[in-house]
Amino acid sequence: MSSKSVQQLDRVVIRFAGDSGDGMQLTGDRFTSETAALGNDLSTLPNFPAEIRAPQGTLPGVSSFQLHFADHDVLTPGDAPDVLVAMNPAALKANLRDLPRGATVIANTDEFTKRNLAKVGYDQSPLEDGSLESWHVHPVALTSITVEALAGFRGLSRKEKERAKNMFALGLLSWMYHRPTQGTEQFLKSKFGAHPEVLEANLAALRAGLNYGETTEDFSVSYEIAPARMAAGEYRNVTGNMALAYGLVSAAHRAGVPLVLGSYPITPASDILHTLSGLKRYGVTTMQCEDEIAGIGAALGASFGGAMGVTTTSGPGVALKSETIGLGVALELPLVVVDVQRGGPSTGLPTKTEQADLLQAMFGRNGESPVAIVAPRSPADCFDTALEAVRIATTYRTPVFVLSDGYLANGSEPWRLPSVGDLPDLTVEFATAPNAVDDDGTPVFLPFLRDEETLARPWAVPGTPGLEHRVGGIEKADRTGNISYDPDNHDHMTRLRAAKIERIAASIPDLEVDDPSGEAKVLVLGWGSTYGPIAAAVRSVRNTGANVARAHLRHLNPFPANTGEVLRRYERVVVPEMNLGQLALLLRARYLVDVRSFTRVRGLPFTTVELADAIVSATQEVTP
């Protein structure tokens, strides 16, 4: 091995940045996989433009992938990179402001041409004018070294050779951090198996990168990060969208009903449609419909027929689905609506994250139209949240929102694999026989006669003899479901539908508070994908000796039964959200507690530092 020195680190944040066409997402994915295989805990954050290929070399065309890995548990993708791989001047310029002084920059000098510099407004090359003095810069002629390393590949054009430069970069970084590359080699073999020359070129570029680190003077130190202590078990790395898709399939399996997805493509939700479309072997039916309205319509139609109807979308799609969600509320049928939130309003920031659809999910329909809402807290947690959504939908015969977001959707983390057989039993029971007798004592079926405990109505599917009935969006008479315009009946039914959703609280765990000292006066309460950043910030504040409590809501409607009591236990409640205070609004209205919002809508997860600052000021306010 090398005569170079090896340093031990406990954590590293790397950001790969380049042009959309440079393969940075792939490079990041591969590095992540190598890191997972080594046993570090990790969290990732891809960040890409909405345009598929913005003009080459421009700032809007920059795509990046950030990875945080450590020898301890990792809660966020990291505030700021320790290492930036910049494939061109645009990548450097777009990311430099996130880079703390002293961090490392690996820059592809071949791309720092006059023309490329001019494209992003550099008069002079920052690699040469001294402006990067505060950083450790490694100028590497990534492109030309790659091309040179591939000189023997006569069947490949220069362009094709250049394309392998991301594998060279991956090789170099793999050397720097002692990552095993067998997985990547396997991956390349299955990806390029049909093109032996391309495969060999990529493998050669990867090895050239490793050798470059090994032999060049410029890189004198490499780093080791010991495996993290994680609960025993088998792990994989998983993105939120994939975990969500797998959760839906597993839940339908546990419920004993087919999964039927009606969807329309939209960023950042499309990958769920893609994944489920590939799962026909598991009995999954997917329909790419003509629009979002048709997608949810098909899902609701399938639910009427006894399937688990699911629709997946993002905020703009939810806007279109609202009327059908209302129909689902009126029909009282199971339905899961997955909203992978992105920046809004309107088209907003399609590829960036936000949590600003909470109130849309809660109230975005005409009439009193309550639905259940759950939100996953991390990529792997999307799996469990999907199960919970299916449980609530089938038990209470109601539409259920899953509020994921762009960060969870594309971000990834290690996931300790569950065994499907050990998941909760979600078996559904369909109505098969009359449930009442009429005045003459004849058995009859009342489609709106409710279960006393859950207030759910029977799920009687077409094909069941003797239970023929009609449902519709017009107000129904209690019990019979016949059309009714009676004022008292409407008042009664409106309250019943609301009460049914409230009943869900009886089936969910209490809100748990993490307050190790028991002395905290400040509670930080989050929901959804802010879980990791909040946990990291609370940890860093506690490390300074301050006491703070932390809690996280998975259920947004209804809230856990003890929520009000928890809020009132603390002098100050801080609610960080990636919106302008939507959960805070609900909590204030519901519990009359003066919760304080801390909000950012930058299309990115909170940084640990900004959250920690906010928490510290809250503790200072309550502790004179």
Binding site: Y235, F304, T324, E468, R470, I483
Partner: protein
């Protein structure tokens, strides 16, 4: 009105499904007491206006459904919103009165996930062609196994009389006091343009014709669109008077019969449709057809252009109104193919997925083990 054997046109290498529309729907057992109209009549009071054409269609459907020989619980009516869309409440089958324009989408999900159901859609000219136009054309193009009854009264009935996408230009209504200015749709032309595999037109007042068209539509595997001219005596009375009035009817209605020349008019005044050398169609007196190319109706023709040309005979002036089946061809249905893909995937894998299979799925190819 008769339907003839329509033959089995081939469509390249795509498999053609010879099964009828209800082939996968459970039937009443041999010898079981047959159902009657009464079995299909719900206990709900019908609430259309007196004289509304919807009554006649309801009676025809209730009377005809027993003929299908299907189990009642396997029949589902899904409707949108409008007077006509109240239809499901009055039938003692499974039913869903959904939201405005969306019934074809909902029915698509139901039909795709439940091959054992006979799924019917009831919709109006506003419901199907305004707010729900998108879902209608996509159901037609996909060829989902559905029977769509489009009640065309050329008006918005339920919202009290605004003009609709089938109202004639110049229509004076509450929302168009100076007359409407927009060109109407011809639902048959629209459906043909949307790749429909079955398109027919019939009328509320002709029970016999209505029933025969419904039967052919139910037998069709794929989306069958049936336009039903329906009188709204309250907001658009007499919209179809020109073809209902016995003294004019024969001169205006063009009955479509497969394999027959396309004719109009009473004995003695009969005219025959011919194709002019330039390609255009026109009626000429029967006595003058020698040497001209007589148009013979062929609903099974793969090329829809003649059916389309027939649909264009009907100007809003109702000079010549073809009635009957314009097109009835077989092509693979969406739902059959979606199910076939799932079934093939399951078969290839050796049967339905077990928990073990799911465990393997979620493991993926790249895992690692942490030991305690």
């Amino acid at each position: 009105m008769t339907t003839t054997d329509l033959g089995m046109p081939t469509h390249g290498s795509a498999p053609v499904d010879p099964r009828g529309g209800t082939a996968l729907v459970p039937r009443l057992e041999e010898g079981a007491t047959t159902l009657t109209k009464k079995d299909f009549t719900s206990d709900q009071e019908v609430r259309w206006c007196p004289g509304c054409g919807d009554y006649a269609v309801l009676a025809a459907v209730q009377g005809f459904l027993p003929d299908l020989g299907l189990r009642r619980e396997n029949i589902v009516f899904v409707s949108g919103i409008g007077c006509s869309s109240r239809f499901p409440y009055y039938l003692d089958t499974y039913g869903m009165h959904s939201i405005h324009g969306r019934a074809p989408a909902i029915a698509t999900g139901l039909a795709t996930s439940r091959p054992d159901l006979s799924v019917w859609v009831v919709t109006g000219d506003g419901d199907a062609l305004s707010i729900g136009g998108n879902h209608l054309i996509h159901a037609l193009r996909r060829n989902v196994n559905l029977t769509i009854l489009l009640f065309n009264n050329k008006i918005y009935g339920l919202t009290k009389g605004q003009y609709s996408p089938t109202s004639e230009v110049g229509k004076v209504t509450k929302s168009t006091p100076l007359g409407s200015v927009d060109q109407p749709f011809n639902p048959v032309s629209l459906a043909l343009g949307a790749e429909a595999s079955f398109v027919a037109r019939t009328m509320d007042s002709d029970r016999k014709h209505l029933t025969s068209v419904l039967r052919a539509a139910a037998e069709h595997r794929g989306t069958a669109l049936v336009e039903i001219y329906q009188n709204c005596p309250i907001f658009n009375d007499g919209a179809f008077e020109l073809i209902k009035d016995r003294s004019q009817q024969e001169a205006r209605i063009v009955p479509l019969a497969a394999g027959e020349p396309v004719r109009v008019g009473a004995e003695g005044e009969r005219q025959v449709l011919v194709r002019r050398p330039g390609g255009g169609l026109s009626f000429v007196p029967e006595a003058e057809v020698d040497g001209l190319e007589v148009v013979v109706h062929d609903p099974g023709a793969e090329d829809p252009s003649q059916a389309f040309a027939l649909s264009r005979l009907d100007s809003t002036a109702m000079t010549h109104v073809p009635m009957g089946i314009f097109r009835d061809v077989q092509r693979p249905t969406y739902d059959d193919q979606v199910r076939a893909q799932v079934a093939a995937a399951v078969d290839t894998a050796g049967g339905p997925a077990t928990e073990h299979d799911l465990d393997r799925l979620i493991r993926g190819k790249d895992t690692w083990v942490v030991r305690s």
